[in-house]
């Protein structure tokens, strides 16, 4: 399964902010870590702000701060802000009224249901724990770039 780039950016940004909810991060801080375009990330942050998951802090040293509930916000909640999950085939209309088309839709629907259940069962808090486990496993050999949080103004 592949996610659209906006969904991936949103998940990365939220994980970064939710890991240290007392700190603010600029778009540049997050963009640098994940090597992503500030322009695209800024649009994503705006959408996350509209959803109430981040708040924008103004002034010198301003940036974004996490304002959601990491134990209640799931990956599905975040991804559905940016894309409609589901098999592209079910929207195509090609042959969908035939028995073969309905059989194929049934199988693809099964995959969609599993994907939604998986993404809907993993909160940002769970993702942070999972990330920590990967970080611990990496530690002996890999040096990870660190985000540079902007101190609270």
């Amino acid at each position: 399964m592949k996610l659209q780039i906006s969904s991936r950016l949103a998940v990365f940004a939220l994980l970064e902010l939710a890991a240290r909810p007392d700190l603010q991060y600029s778009v540049a801080d997050i963009g640098q870590k994940y090597r992503i375009s500030n322009h695209h990330l800024a649009k994503v942050m705006h959408a996350l702000g509209r959803a109430g998951l981040v708040r924008s802090m103004r002034g010198a040293g301003g940036g974004f701060q996490f304002s959601g509930n990491a134990r209640r916000t799931t990956l599905l909640d975040v991804i559905e802000l940016f894309e409609k999950l589901g098999s592209s085939d079910s929207d195509s209309g090609t042959g969908e009224l035939t028995a073969e088309g309905r059989a194929l839709s049934q199988v693809l629907g099964e995959i969609d249901d599993i994907a939604r259940a998986t993404l809907g069962s993993i909160t940002l808090a769970t993702m942070l724990k999972l990330t920590d486990r990967h970080r611990s496993a990496d530690q002996p050999t890999v040096r990870r770039p660190r985000a540079s949080p902007v101190a609270q103004a």
């Binding site: 799931t74 249901d113 599993i114 259940a117 809907g120 909160t123 769970t126 724990k129 999972l130």
Partner: protein, 162 residues
């Protein structure tokens, strides 16, 4: 075995213990409050099988409040066992029931029960635990995911019996 479970005293006003016969009516009542279905015969049978027999590999644990005469005698329970070679699987700890009193949620009761049964499984030499959750059971899915459980190597399949 019972001693190890008894050691799992919660720091938040409850202790995790092995189930006793007197707990079953409270387990039945808690399950009825949560599911809306009363199943006294089922729970009595589960107690006979998991609370009395083959206790080496079977775990039926309850979380009890530290305060005697509490209005809620059982804060939650968890049941599981080590099963071997079903579906070609090496010995593995299965959790097949978990419930926490709705009024006592967000206090770490479920986590303490999960940790206690994990310890018992580890002591029995298994390195994996497994459970099955309905896709639309958001509460249980979120809980088990939060405890670090991920999708396993099996797919559950079913069909209507013609």
């Amino acid at each position: 075995m019972a001693a190890r479970a008894e050691e799992a005293v919660g720091k938040d006003g409850f202790a995790v213990k092995r189930v006793r016969a007197g707990d079953i009516r409270h387990v039945t009542a808690l399950d009825e409050r949560v599911t809306g279905l009363a199943k006294p015969t089922y729970w009595q049978d589960i107690f006979e099988r998991y609370g009395r027999r083959r206790l080496q590999e079977r775990q039926f644990l309850v979380a009890e409040p530290d305060t005697p005469n509490s209005s809620v005698p059982i804060l939650g329970f968890i049941i599981g066992e080590v099963r071997a070679w079903e579906f070609g699987s090496a010995p593995c700890g299965w959790v097949f029931a978990l419930s926490v009193e709705p009024k006592a949620r967000q206090r770490g009761v479920g986590h303490a029960l999960f940790e206690a049964i994990s310890r018992e499984f580890r002591t029995l030499g298994v390195t994996k635990m497994r459970t099955m959750v309905a896709r639309d059971n958001r509460l249980h899915l979120l809980f088990f995911r939060g405890e670090g459980m991920m999708a396993g190597p099996y797919l559950q399949l079913e069909k209507e019996v013609d």
